[in-house]
Symmetry: none
Subunit: 261 residues, 2 copies
Amino acid sequence: MGKAVKDQLGRVIERETAPQPAVILVRPQLGENIGAACRGMLNFGLTELRLVAPRDGWPNPAADAMAAGAVELIENAKLFETVDEAVADLSFVLAATARRRELEIPVVGTETIGAEMRAKIEQGVGVLFGPEKAGLTNADVVFADKILTYPVNPAFQSLNLAQAVNVFAFIWAQSQGVTVPDIFDDVRSEVAPREELTRLFDHLEDELDKAGFFFPAAKKHLMQQNIRAPLTRAQMSEQEVRTFRGIIKALAKGRGKARGG
Amino acid sequence: MGKAVKDQLGRVIERETAPQPAVILVRPQLGENIGAACRGMLNFGLTELRLVAPRDGWPNPAADAMAAGAVELIENAKLFETVDEAVADLSFVLAATARRRELEIPVVGTETIGAEMRAKIEQGVGVLFGPEKAGLTNADVVFADKILTYPVNPAFQSLNLAQAVNVFAFIWAQSQGVTVPDIFDDVRSEVAPREELTRLFDHLEDELDKAGFFFPAAKKHLMQQNIRAPLTRAQMSEQEVRTFRGIIKALAKGRGKARGG
């Protein structure tokens, strides 16, 4: 995209060249839904689609067919094998889900999230949507800084994937004119890209594995969540991530020696 | 509908019995879109569907199939021959359209329309959506008090009918003033008392001291800040603090041995 377009008043704008949140479809099942999601995105000016392990492979003709005029999004979609990789360059990640989670991740509604995303957009923002049937797993959601919930009907919560994306795109578009509340204007350093945090987790969990920390093995997953959730919430700067890498190195250093001698 | 439902906190609410805007599909073409619109409506608590002269007649099996769990809306849909009749009992009518009109009808955006509809809801509110291909004619739009426009991408304005209805339903639900984050707030455990965090810092910094981490000594204060700030921001629960205490123990364990032997 990125070409100048005209808005309803005839003004030339470059809406699509501005940074915008990435829509990340995690293990989507139906190509039709991917295509419909693209339409809903482009209707409200979003163009950056990322796919994590789409069930039916990629490219997918069913997606092309449904995307209609938004086929350019399909062609430019980025393909990833894991959520981990898909969020690597982002600093603020949302997980769109209606299910309650036993996760220590703050939940945010739709009223303020547009403004919050705009305040953080230069550092890389993305939103995770789960597969049609099962939705996001907790292992997916722990990559998120916040859980985004829609004001859904409690008796009929399950949104179609494309409609969930459509509503997200609308929220983004609507927030364009909205002034960013002061509360998001903090003096914090830039948040480290997510891949640095992932490397920190890998480093820490690798050392913990060596130290026999993850016992019993059945609980490893839960223990990982207890490690990752607070460090993700902390929105660490690059300097802080470096400090924590240094901590792990310093603490783990002697142990190798102990084993060696 | 109209039966009591439970929200996430288990409170019995009667969301669906309260008056709500009627969604009026004018000469809709595809049954699939009618069904998908029903899903999008019910997801956000809307249940009143009106149909004006649907192209393929009514009832329509294609609509039933797409409505999935929202088939009750299909069954209760009211059928009309003209827009005139469909809006007869309403006092405030919107026409959802992205096209510019040479009509002396005020245009309203999405930011304030939810509140405006709620203010007028007791008197009867409805919104017109046009057929898939052609959209609403001027003859349809003149029945509206206001034209409702979405903040669409000027280069790709044409929303799918079901998605347009979906966004409208979302706008309605969001304007309800439901403070979603509050509802979910109890998911987060209580934040650990500060003294537990202090003990965690003491423990960590003591081990780091032993490991020779704080070097040069003049920088110790700054390094402490880089450790404490993110862990404080993380607002850790007691369980998470325990996990981090365990991490420090696990990583530091071998080092003592190394020194001893």
